[in-house]
C-alpha cells in the first residue's frame, strides 16, 4: 500500500466515522481539534485504525501522533509486512 493509498483510505474512514468533510482534513492540522476528539472518542480512532489496518497504536505512542501526517507516518511504519 502506497502512502497515497493510506492517506486516501484513512481520510475516508475518518470522515465517515467522525462525520467531517474529507477535504477538511489538512495533513498538518491537529487531529484532535479537527475531529473534535475527547478522551473517549480517541479510543474510537485507535479502534478504527486497528480494524482497518491491523495496526495497534499503544496508548504510550498516542502523544507522538498530533497531526494527520503523524498518523499516516505511524500507519506506514507499522503496517504488517
Amino acid at each position: 500500500m502506497t502512502r497515497e493509498d493510506i492517506i486516501k483510505t484513512v481520510n475516508s474512514a475518518l470522515a465517515e466515522e467522525f462525520e467531517v468533510e474529507e477535504n477538511a482534513l489538512d495533513p498538518e492540522a491537529n487531529i484532535k481539534e479537527t475531529l473534535s476528539l475527547d478522551s473517549l472518542s480517541l479510543v474510537d480512532l485507535v479502534a478504527l485504525i486497528q480494524q482497518t489496518y491491523k495496526v495497534k497504536i499503544p496508548v504510550s505512542d498516542l502523544p507522538s501522533i498530533q497531526t494527520f501526517n503523524n498518523l499516516y507516518d505511524y500507519i506506514e511504519a507499522h503496517l504488517p509486512k
Binding site: E19, S36, L40, V43, D44, A47, Q50, Q51, K56
Partner: protein
Amino acid sequence: MEKKVVITGMGIWSCIGQTLDDVRDALYTGKSGIIFSQERKDLGFRSALCAHLEQPDLKPFVSRSLRQFMPEEAQYAYMATKQALENANLDQDYLDAHEVGIIYGNDSVAEATMHALDKFREFKDTSACGSGAIFQSMNSTVTMNLACAFKLRGINLTASGACASGSHAVGLASLLIRNGLQDCVICGGAQEANLYSVASFDGINAFSLRENEPTKASRPFDRDRDGLVPGGGAATLILESYEHAVKRGAPILAEVVSWGFSGNGAHISTPNVAGPARSLELCLKNGNILPKEIGYVNAHATSTHAGDGKEALAIAQIFGDYKVPVTSTKGQTGHEMWMAGASELIYSVLMMKNDFIAGNLNFENPDEETACINIVPETREVHFDMFLSNSFGFGGTNSTIIVRNIDSNH
C-alpha cells in the same frame, strides 16, 4: 400532603406509528405491526415473526459524540422523549432552569453487548470494543443517554422489571411526584427490536408459529393463540404534579390515580392468578377506586396460553359481577416487553381521549378461562373516564396503573 400526579405529554416510537395521531388511527382501525422476517428464519429462528419498526435518524438532533453511546433502544427512546417533551410544551430552556428527572424501563442491551464482545474476541484487545460500547451495553443506557442529551438534573434511574419494566418506571415516577420529591419526571419504557435481543426467548418456544398469517399471529385471549410475537420501540410520558403543571400552563391530559404491584413468589415463567390479582387489588385500594368506576382494562395478555388465561381469571376475581370491557393491544403491536407498560398507557390514554376502545385484534373465540371476562373484539366507540393497565413479567413481577381522564378545560 400527597400531590396529584398528571400526564402532560406523550411520545411514542412503535410498530403501529411514530406520531400520536398515527397511533390513534392505527388503534382505531386495528392495524397490525407484525411481519414475517426472512432474515430471522434464515438464521435459525423457530418463529420468524416480529414487529416491523422504522429506524429513526438522530443525526439532525444529536451529535456524533453522543450518538455513539446510544444503542437502538436509546434511539427509539430519544425520539419518543423528544416528541413527549414537545407535546408537554417543555423546551430545553425549561429543562435547563428546572430540576426534571427520568425513570425509564429497560431490561436488555443484547445487541450492543454482543457487538462489543465480538470485537474484543476478534482482535483480542479491549480497546477494539470502541468508546461507545460500555455506555451502550449497560442496562441503564437509555436513562444515562437521555439525561445527557436533554441535560436532566433530577432523578436518573432505570427500572428493570422484565415485561413490567415500563409500568414500574411510571409507577415509581408517580410515587416520587406524589410524595413531593420531584415535580416533573420523564418516564417510559424502551425495547430493542433486533433479532439478537430475542433469540434466546425464541429458544424457549414462547413465540407464535403462525408464520403463514403474520397479522393473525398475536391473538391475546383467543382460544387458538399459540404464543407471543416480539415487538419493540419506546414510549415516553411526562409526569408532573398537578400544581406544577398548572403553574407552567401545561396541557393536562390525564391523572395517574394509583399504582399497585406484587410478586408471585413462584415460578420464573409460569404465572399464577393470586399474584396479578393482588396487584390489581392494591392499585384499586391505593387509589380508593371501586371496580365499577373503571371503564376499560388494558390487559397485559401477550397471546400465550398460560399468561392470558391466568390474567383473565385475576381480572374476573377482582371485578366480580361487573363485566368491565377488556382488550390487549398486543394483538396489534406484539409484545413490546420492557416498553409495553408505558406504551400501553399511551394507547389507553389515546383511546380515552378519543372515546373508543380498540378491538382486541384476532380475538375470535374464548377458551374456558378467557370466557370469564368481557373481551371487546371489534373497535367500539364509547366514552370512559378511567382505565386500568396491567403489566406482568418473568420472575412473577406485576404492576398495575389506574389513569383518570382530565378534561382539557380542567
